[in-house]
Amino acid sequence: MPGERALVVFQLGEEEYAIDVNRVREVVRVDRITRVPGAPAYVRGVINLRGRVVPVIDLRQRLGLNPAPAERPRIMVVEDGTALVGMLVDRASEVLRLQPGQMQPPDEILQEDDNGRFVEAVANLEGRLVVVLRPGDLLAREDRQAVADIIVS
C-alpha cells in the first residue's frame, strides 16, 4: 500500500519507540561494553560485533529520558551510511506496519523540547502510542567538535 511504513518497535521503560526497519541491521545482546574515555557522554562504549568494533549509544540519554536501564539491555544495530551504530534499548518487540493515516506529527509540547527534534511522528494505535524516531538526527554528530574541546580543556 502506498505510504505504508514498516517500523521496528522497541521499549524504553514503559514507552514504545520505533525506527524505520530499513535502518535496522539486527538486534543483539552483548554482555560487555567497553567504555571509551573521551567519547560523547551518550556514547556508552564499543562492542565486538563479530570482529567489527561498533560504538553503542545510550538511547535514553540521547533522548533526554530518565535513566532506568534494564538489567540485560539489547543493542539495536542501525546503519548510518556504511557505518554501524548500536543503540541500547530495553526490548525490541515487533515489526509494525503503519498506514500514513495512523501517524501524526509530534505535538507542540514535544517539539519545544530540544530533544523533540529526534521525533518524526507519533503513531496512535487504538490508544497505544508509539514514538517514531528520526535515525538521521539521532546519529548526527553535532558534538564532534565539542568532543575534542572537552577533552583538551
Binding site: 573521551g38 564499543v46 561498533v54 560504538p55 546519529l139
Partner: protein, 721 residues
C-alpha cells in the same frame, strides 16, 4: 573515434599503471642528464637511451588508447631525445621544455585516473577526444626548438646515417646506425602473448609501434583495425621490412610485457611493395589505414617456440602490492599482478585477524571443555597455523617499496633548489625497503617538509659554502633501512646545522621557555624546541617552506602512525632528521594494562619500562608524585585519572615516552605483551582523542589502544590536582 570509443577500462589501466612508472623513469633520466650537462659532461648514453625508451613507450601506450594529444607530445619529446642520442646536445631551454612536457603528461594521467574512477571508460570519451591545447603548445615548442623537422613524420631511416656519434657517445645509436646501414630485408615476425594476457590488443599495438620504429610494416595479422577493435588472439604476425637483424628485433619485442614468444624469419618471398608511404609510419590510430590488408603468413602451422627471445613474464615481485609497483622502468606491464582496492585489503586484513582471534578462542573453549580429543586439538592447531599464514600473506599485500614515495623527491629537490638559488645533490638509498601502504601514506608530507627544510634552511648558498671551504653543491642523503619491526628513514644534509643560539632566542621570544630556563637547557633540549607548536626558525618566508606548517605538525603526523621523529645537528656540518616507523599499522605489539576491570593496550614502541610501585611511597616534586627512573624524576600519573575511570589500587607503573616527554602511568595490573590487530573505533565514532584505536582480545572483549602522545599531552595540560 567521434562516436564510439573502442577502448575499455582495462586498456586505460595499462596506460595508467605503466604511465606513472614511465613518467618517473623519464624524469629520473632527465634529472641525470641535467646533472651531466651542468657538470659539462656528455650524458651517459644509457641514461639518454632510457629517457628515449620511456618516451617511446609512453607514446605507444597513449596512442594505443587513442589519446592523440599525449601521443603527439610524447612523440615530440622522443624526437628531441632521439636527437640527443645522436649527439645533437640539448639546450637548457629544451631540457626545461622536456620537464614541462613531463609535468603535463603526469597531470593528464592523474586526470585520466580520476575520470576513470568517476565515470568509467565512457567518461573517458570526453577526455580522450578532448582538445588539449597545452599539449599542442608544448609540441610546437619542442619541435620548434628541437631537432626534429616535423612532429608527424619520423625522419627517414637513411637521413640519420650521417651522424657521427660523439666520442664516448651513444653506443646504442651508433649500433643502430651501423645496423641500419646494412641492406634491408623482409622478415616475418610472429609474436605470442601470454595466455592470461589481460589486454592483448594493447600489447599488440605496442608490438606494432616497436616494429614501426625499426622498419616498415608491410602486413600484419590481425590488421590494425582489428587490433583497435580488440580482435586480437594470442598471436600477432607481422611482415616487416627492416635492416635490423633478427636477434635485435627479438630483444626489442621481448621487452614488451606479456610477450612470451618471438619468432623472426627471413621471408624473401614476402617482399611486396605494398607498404604505405613512409610519412605515414608515425600516424596514430583513428587515422586508419596504417596497416591495410594482410595475408596469412606462410608460416601457418609452423611450430611455435614459446619463450624464445627471452620474453619470460616477470615475477610479480613478492609483496609489491599490486600493479604499477616495483616495475622496472621501460619494461612496463601488469603481468602477474592485479589492482586491488586498498579497502578490500584492509577488510581482508581484518578478517584474517579475526580468524586468528577466533582460533585462540576455540583453543580456550577446547581446553575448558577438557575433551581429551587429540584429533580435535590437532585440527584447531592446524587452523591456527593456516590463519597465521593467511594473516602474514595478507600483510604482505599491504607492503609497498618506499620507491613509490621517494621517486618524486629528486624532481622536487631540483625545483626547490632552483627556487632557492642553491645547488643540491640528492642521494637516495634503500628505496627498496618496504613499508605498510598506510604508513607510507602518512609520511609523505612529513618527508616533503623535512626535505624542504633541508634545502631552504639547512643548506647554505653556493657562495657561502665556497667561503667555508665546502663544495658549491650541498648534499642531502635520503636513506631508508630496516631494523627489526621498524623502518628507519633519515634525511641528512651537509649544511650549516641548526643554530642552537637562534633556536634558544626564538623559544624565549615565543614564550616557550623563560630566558633563565633557556640558559640552563642543554643544546639537544634546545634543539627539540623546533618541534614545539608555533615555532619556526626562519625569519624569512620562502615560496615553498614558509607555509605556516611547523615541524610540530610533522612530528605529530609521524607519531600518529606510531613512529618517532628525532633530530641531530652538528654546527657547520649539517643536520639529520631520523624517522622511526612501524612496519605496519595493522598489527602492533602492545603491553596490555589493567585499570580496575578495564583493559588498555599501550603500544610497546612507547613503553620504556615497567616497575612495581607503591603510590603512597612515591617522592613528590612541587607536590606532584614522581617516579625515579635511573635517577631521573618522571611525573607519575594514575592511568585512571587520565581516562576518568573509577579509582583503583595501583600496583605498577608503566614508563612511557612520546614526543620527547616521559611519564609513569600508574596501572592496577599488567597482562603482558602481545601482538594485536588494530581496528578503528567505527566510522561513526571516528577519532577519539587519546585513543589510537581498538583491538579485540582473545576472549572477545574490546580493548582500547592508547595514543600515548595524546595521553601525555592531556596529562601536561591538566590542572594540578
Amino acid at each position: 573515434m567521434s562516436d564510439t570509443f573502442p577502448f575499455t577500462e582495462d586498456d586505460f589501466a595499462v596506460l595508467l599503471a605503466e604511465g606513472e612508472e614511465l613518467v618517473a623513469a623519464l624524469e629520473a633520466a632527465l634529472l641525470a642528464m641535467e646533472t651531466s650537462f651542468r657538470q659539462g659532461q656528455v650524458p651517459d648514453p644509457e641514461v639518454v637511451a632510457a629517457a628515449f625508451r620511456a618516451a617511446h613507450t609512453l607514446k605507444g601506450s597513449s596512442a594505443a588508447v587513442g589519446l592523440r594529444a599525449l601521443s603527439a607530445l610524447t612523440h615530440a619529446m622522443e624526437s628531441v631525445l632521439d636527437g640527443v642520442r645522436h649527439g645533437d646536445g640539448l639546450t637548457g631551454g629544451e631540457l626545461e621544455l622536456l620537464f614541462r612536457a613531463l609535468d603535463h603528461i603526469r597531470g593528464q594521467l592523474v586526470r585520466l585516473s580520476e575520470v576513470l574512477g568517476e565515470g568509467g571508460p565512457e567518461a573517458l570519451v570526453r577526455v580522450g577526444g578532448e582538445e588539449d591545447p597545452r599539449a599542442g603548445e608544448l609540441v610546437h615548442l619542442l619541435t620548434g626548438a628541437g631537432s626534429a623537422p616535423g612532429e608527424g613524420d619520423r625522419l627517414p631511416v637513411s637521413a640519420q646515417r650521417d651522424h657521427v656519434p660523439p666520442e664516448g657517445g651513444d653506443h646504442l645509436a651508433a649500433e643502430g646506425d651501423r645496423l641500419r646501414g646494412t641492406s634491408e630485408r623482409v622478415l616475418q615476425v610472429e609474436v605470442r602473448f601470454h595466455e592470461q594476457c589481460p589486454m592483448p590488443a594493447v600489447r599488440a599495438y605496442q608490438v606494432v609501434m616497436a616494429l614501426e620504429d625499426v622498419g616498415e610494416i608491410l602486413e600484419s595479422d590481425p590488421s590494425l583495425e582489428e587490433i583497435e577493435g580488440e580482435q586480437v588472439d594470442r598471436v600477432l604476425r607481422v611482415i616487416l621490412e627492416t635492416a635490423l637483424p633478427a636477434d635485435q628485433i627479438r630483444a626489442r619485442l621481448a621487452r614488451i610485457s606479456d610477450v612470451v614468444g618471438v619468432m623472426v624469419d627471413a621471408r624473401e618471398e614476402a617482399a611486396v611493395g605494398r607498404g604505405g608511404p613512409p610519412g605515414e609510419a608515425g600516424r596514430l590510430p583513428g587515422g586508419g589505414g596504417l596497416l591495410g590488408g594482410y595475408g596469412r603468413p606462410a608460416s601457418e602451422g609452423r611450430g611455435r617456440v614459446p619463450g624464445e627471445g627471452g620474453g619470460v613474464p616477470r615475477e610479480g615481485g613478492a609483496g609489491s602490492g599490486g600493479a604499477g609497483l616495483g616495475i622496472p622502468p621501460g619494461a612496463g606491464g601488469l603481468s602477474r599482478s592485479v589492482r586491488v582496492d586498498v579497502r578490500i585489503l584492509d577488510e581482508l586484513m581484518n578478517l584474517a585477524g579475526e580468524l586468528v582471534i577466533q582460533r585462540t578462542r576455540l583453543g580456550r573453549l577446547l581446553s575448558d571443555a577438557q575433551l581429551q580429543d587429540d584429533d580435535l586439538e590437532r585440527a584447531v592447531e592446524d587452523i591456527g597455523r593456516v590463519a597465521a599464514q593467511l594473516q602474514e600473506q595478507v600483510m604482505k599485500t599491504r607492503m609497498v617499496p618506499l620507491e613509490n614515495l621517494f621517486r618524486r623527491f629528486p624532481r622536487m629537490v631540483r625545483d626547490l633548489a632552483a627556487a632557492a638559488g642553491k645547488e643540491v645533490n640528492l642521494v637516495v638509498r634503500g628505496e627498496r625497503t618496504e613499508l605498510d601502504r598506510a604508513v607510507m601514506e602518512e609520511i609523505g608530507d612529513p618527508l616533503v617538509h623535512i626535505l624542504r627544510n633541508a634545502v631552504d634552511h639547512g643548506l647554505e648558498s653556493p657562495a657561502e659554502r665556497e667561503a667555508v671551504g665546502k663544495p658549491r653543491a650541498g648534499t642531502i642523503v635520503l636513506e631508508a633501512q630496516h631494523e627489526e619491526n621498524y623502518v628507519l628513514i633519515s634525511v641528512r644534509d651537509d649544511g650549516r646545522g641548526i643554530d642552537v643560539e637562534r633556536v634558544r632566542g626564538k623559544a624565549i621570544a615565543a614564550g616557550l621557555v623563560s630566558a633563565d630556563e633557556a640558559r640552563e637547557l642543554a643544546d639537544p633540549d634546545v634543539i627539540n624546541f623546533i618541534f614545539a607548536p608555533g615555532f619556526s626558525t626562519s625569519d624569512r618566508v620562502t615560496e615553498v617552506s614558509g607555509r605556516g606548517v611547523g615541524l610540530d605538525v610533522v612530528r605529530r603526523n609521524v607519531q600518529r602512525v606510531g613512529g618517532t621523529l628525532e633530530v641531530d645537528s652538528r654546527p657547520g656540518q649539517g643536520a639529520e632528521f631520523r624517522m622511526r616507523l612501524p612496519l605496519t599499522l595493522a598489527i602492533i605489539r602492545c603491553l596490555l594494562c589493567q585499570w580496575g576491570d578495564e583493559i588498555y593496550a599501550l603500544p610497546l614502541g612507547h613503553v620504556d619500562e615497567v616497575a612495581e610501585v607503591d603510590p603512597e611511597g612515591l617522592p613528590t616534586v612541587y607536590q606532584k608524585k614522581v617516579l625515579l627512573v635511573r635517577g631521573n624524576a618522571v611525573p607519575f600519573v594514575p592511568l585512571g585519572d587520565v581516562l576518568g575511570s573509577e579509582p583503583a589500587a595501583i600496583e605498577f607503573a608503566v614508563v612511557v615516552r612520546a614526543a620527547g616527554r616521559q611519564a609513569a602511568l600508574g596501572v592496577t595490573g599488567l597482562l603482558g605483551d602481545q601482538e594485536v590487530v588494530v581496528k578503528d573505533l567505527g566510522a561513526w565514532l571516528g577519532n577519539v582523542r587519546g585513543m589510537a584505536g581498538a583491538t579485540i582480545l582473545g576472549d572477545g572483549r574490546v580493548a582500547l589502544i592508547l595514543d600515548v602522545a595524546a595521553v601525555l599531552r592531556r596529562r601536561t595540560r591538566a590542572p594540578a590536582a
